[in-house]
């Protein structure tokens, strides 16, 4: 039987009066990039800590099958971890920090040293290897932290907020490296809130809100299952009467993007033809484009729906 690399079944975690994770289940297949998404306080880091056995779930099970045999815990050399809050020794050199982390993950000293040299060269930090960590910029410190998490070539890497502190150029660079690691056979679980980056990278996502799963699947599946709006942007010549816009067929709401440019959000199932016919009857349209809702919008919509649902349940 082909077990998923990680299988999480109905885990729960409560801190004093707060339920941080509530009956959460998901699985990660070998070789995929799986993203845990959610706003601050959604429970992502708590989930990650439970996956690493830093915290123990109050209920539910976590099973790994990294080498085919299911186990409760991954071995140190099988797993890599990039914590959300950066954790290396600031008063110690980059090289020493990294070799130590490699050794703790089971690498022989010499092999760790060689791997550190290779990765530092790859991430343009070769000249900085003997500098203390706190002499590096925030972005470079993040690079070092990233190296520490994948130096030993784990089969499964958990990256908690890997893009934080990086400028756009380095964000792109990290996207390439993560894709490359996946190509080399590494399975990756990402926890992040930069949804635009994640939607370009992840094979599957799980949207988390208040410790519960809101949406799960591939980006296409999430879009299909979401009741988020289809967006149409019209560029209009001449005067336009905004008061009439919401009366166009299928329009849920609209927003003004720029002078003469309007974005219309259509209700799920609304007919594009009917909308365009209504718009063309009242507006002098000079340009038109349609957009899928971003993961960010889908997420906001899903959260909104969930809130409305729970309010209805309460009032009922």
């Amino acid at each position: 039987m082909n077990h998923p690399l990680l299988e999480v079944t109905s885990i729960e975690k409560e801190f004093e009066s707060i339920k941080a994770v509530d009956r959460l289940s998901f699985h990660v297949q070998a070789g995929e990039i799986f993203a845990l998404l959610g706003p601050n306080g959604a429970g992502k880091t708590t989930v990650v800590r439970m996956l690493l056995r830093i915290l123990h779930p109050d209920r539910g099970t976590i099973r790994y099958a990294i080498n085919g045999t299911p186990r409760d815990k991954a071995l140190p050399h099988e797993i890599g971890y990039l914590p959300e809050e950066r954790g290396l020794y600031r008063e110690i050199s980059v090289y020493k920090n990294l070799t130590y982390m490699g050794i703790l993950r089971g690498m022989p000293r010499e092999e760790a040293g060689r791997a550190v040299d290779e990765w530092l060269a790859r991430l343009d930090l070769r000249e900085r290897k003997n500098e203390k960590l706190d002499q590096l910029s925030k972005g470079n410190q993040q690079k070092v932290q990233f190296i520490a998490s994948i130096l030993h070539r784990p089969k499964f890497a958990i990256l908690d907020e890997p893009f934080s502190g990086l400028d756009p150029v380095n964000q792109e660079f990290f996207l390439d490296i993560i894709r490359e690691l996946r190509s080399s056979g590494m399975t990756i679980l990402l926890s992040a809130h930069q949804m635009d980056l994640v939607q370009r990278l992840a094979d599957r996502v799980l949207l988390l809100h208040r410790g519960r799963s809101v949406l799960e699947g591939t980006i296409a599946q999430v879009r299909a299952s979401s009741s988020a709006f289809k967006k149409v942007v019209l560029k209009v010549e001449g005067a336009a009467d905004g008061a009439r816009f919401e009366r166009f067929a299928g329009v849920d709401h609209f927003e003004t993007l720029a002078d003469g440019e309007y974005a219309f959000s259509l209700r799920q199932g609304a007919s594009m033809s009917s909308f365009l016919a209504a718009a063309a009857a009242h507006l002098n349209i000079s340009d038109i484009r349609s957009e899928d809702s971003s993961l960010h919008e889908i997420f906001l919509h899903a959260i909104n729906n969930e809130r409305l649902q729970s309010e209805e349940e309460k009032s009922a």
Binding site: L52, I54, P83, E85, L104
Partner: protein, 396 residues
């Protein structure tokens, strides 16, 4: 990699994190420089033979005798010269003017506080006694016989212990101090390392790779090894100081009790045991500290003073029942036993039992500390209460 090796790797990291050859060499060099400076200064003081010139009026009432070697130099003066001599004192041209008014009363006028005052008082008292004896007309032979101290001859049994010399007492005091220093250095580094790791959030990186017990074991071993290395350097510095002083003619010696191989081995083992025990305790305490700048638990770093306070009593009598009991109790033995090893003969079985008890308590505290460490290290934002800590310990 095996767990035993992982604890070794962590110990190695911790040791190298704190141990710097440069610092050790500087410590020894400072010791050498200090010993040269102290002895140079003392030689300079000894070469200063400036006499203290003191004019005395009325010496016929109280004949003062100044022994050879004294810096006091008396110059008899007439009463008519009193005013002139007072002016000389006012200009700091003579050290002082002593006016003897009677056998019972004298006045001393000086320009500044006299460091030789106690010697002068002693000479005046001696002279006064002589005058009084003469007044009582007691023959000096009879008086000498009456005042002669009783003769008490002391013989140490051939199987008994040689008396404790001053050098041994000083050595015992130094052994206690070096032990205390080693404990404090270890405790301080342990505290700084662990609270720092909590604040820098290194914790999650480490505990995702190794178990908390492996981590604490490695930390305890590494910091204890550092404390031991620090002790070696400090002891070497003291030896160097004594040897340099010897060469410069101090007459100081290093007691054989310190260099005797069996005693030396026992001292090293007790020191290592003491460092391991205290570092185990401090690792647990440190793991429960949220912010080292505000936590009241930092004051627990002073706890090792308690056994040292007991050990000081060993300098007076190292063979009391209390001292022997304290030599066995693991929290006090690392301070009391080394002092006794230098001051008296300690049976081999006493050392063996003390080391065994120390080893057992290290094992127990290691398990308890591992539990506290595991839970405390991942607790941020608040400190666990004593009740919570006690509950964790009871689960061991």
């Amino acid at each position: 990699m095996k767990s035993r090796n992982m604890a070794y790797e962590i110990a190695r990291w911790e040791f190298q994190r704190w141990f710097k050859w440069k610092d050790q060499i500087v410590t020894v060099a400072i010791s050498l420089a200090l010993s040269l400076a102290i002895w140079g200064g003392m030689a300079l003081l000894a070469s200063d033979d400036t006499a203290v010139k003191l004019s005395v009026i009325g010496q016929e009432l109280l004949p003062l005798k100044i022994p050879t070697g004294s810096k006091l130099e008396l110059q008899a003066a007439e009463r008519k010269d009193e005013e002139r001599l007072r002016e000389l004192v006012g200009r700091d041209e003579i050290a002082g003017l002593l006016i003897i008014k009677s056998v019972d009363e004298a006045e001393l006028l000086v320009y500044k506080e006299p460091f030789w005052k106690s010697e002068l008082e002693q000479r005046l008292t001696e002279a006064r006694i002589q005058v009084k004896i003469q007044e009582l007309r007691i023959p000096s032979e009879q008086l000498a016989e009456a005042l002669r101290p009783m003769t008490l001859s002391t013989a140490i049994h051939q199987q008994g212990q040689a008396p404790t010399s001053t050098a041994e007492k000083i050595a015992a005091g130094l052994v206690i101090s070096v032990m205390l220093l080693g404990i404090f250095v270890g405790a301080a580094y342990q505290f700084v390392a662990i609270t720092g790791e909590k604040q820098l959030r290194v914790t999650e990186m480490i505990v995702s790779a190794v178990t908390p017990q492996q981590w604490i074991d490695g930390k305890i071993l590494g910091v204890s090894a550092y404390a031991l290395a620090f002790t070696f350097t400090t002891t070497a510095s003291i030896f160097l100081f004594v040897l340099v002083s010897q060469a410069l003619g101090s007459g100081w010696t290093i007691p054989l009790e310190v260099t005797n191989p069996s005693n030396l081995l026992a001292l090293i083992l007790v020191a290592l045991g003491g460092y391991l025990l205290w570092n185990t305790i401090f690792a647990a305490i440190s793991a429960t500290v949220n912010d080292p700048n505000t936590s009241a638990r930092g004051s627990l770093l002073l706890a090792p003073f308690v056994p040292v306070a007991f050990a000081v009593f060993a300098l007076k009598n190292p063979d009391t029942i209390a001292m022997r009991v304290f030599s066995f109790i693991p929290l006090t033995s690392p301070a009391v036993l080394p002092a006794r090893l230098v001051l008296t003969e300690v049976a081999w079985w006493e050392v063996a039992v003390a080391l065994l008890l120390l080893g057992l308590s290290i094992w127990f505290f290691r398990s308890a500390s591992g539990k506290i460490f595991r839970l405390g290290m991942l607790m941020h934002g608040k400190e666990p209460s004593c009740k919570e800590i006690w509950r964790w310990v009871r689960e061991v």
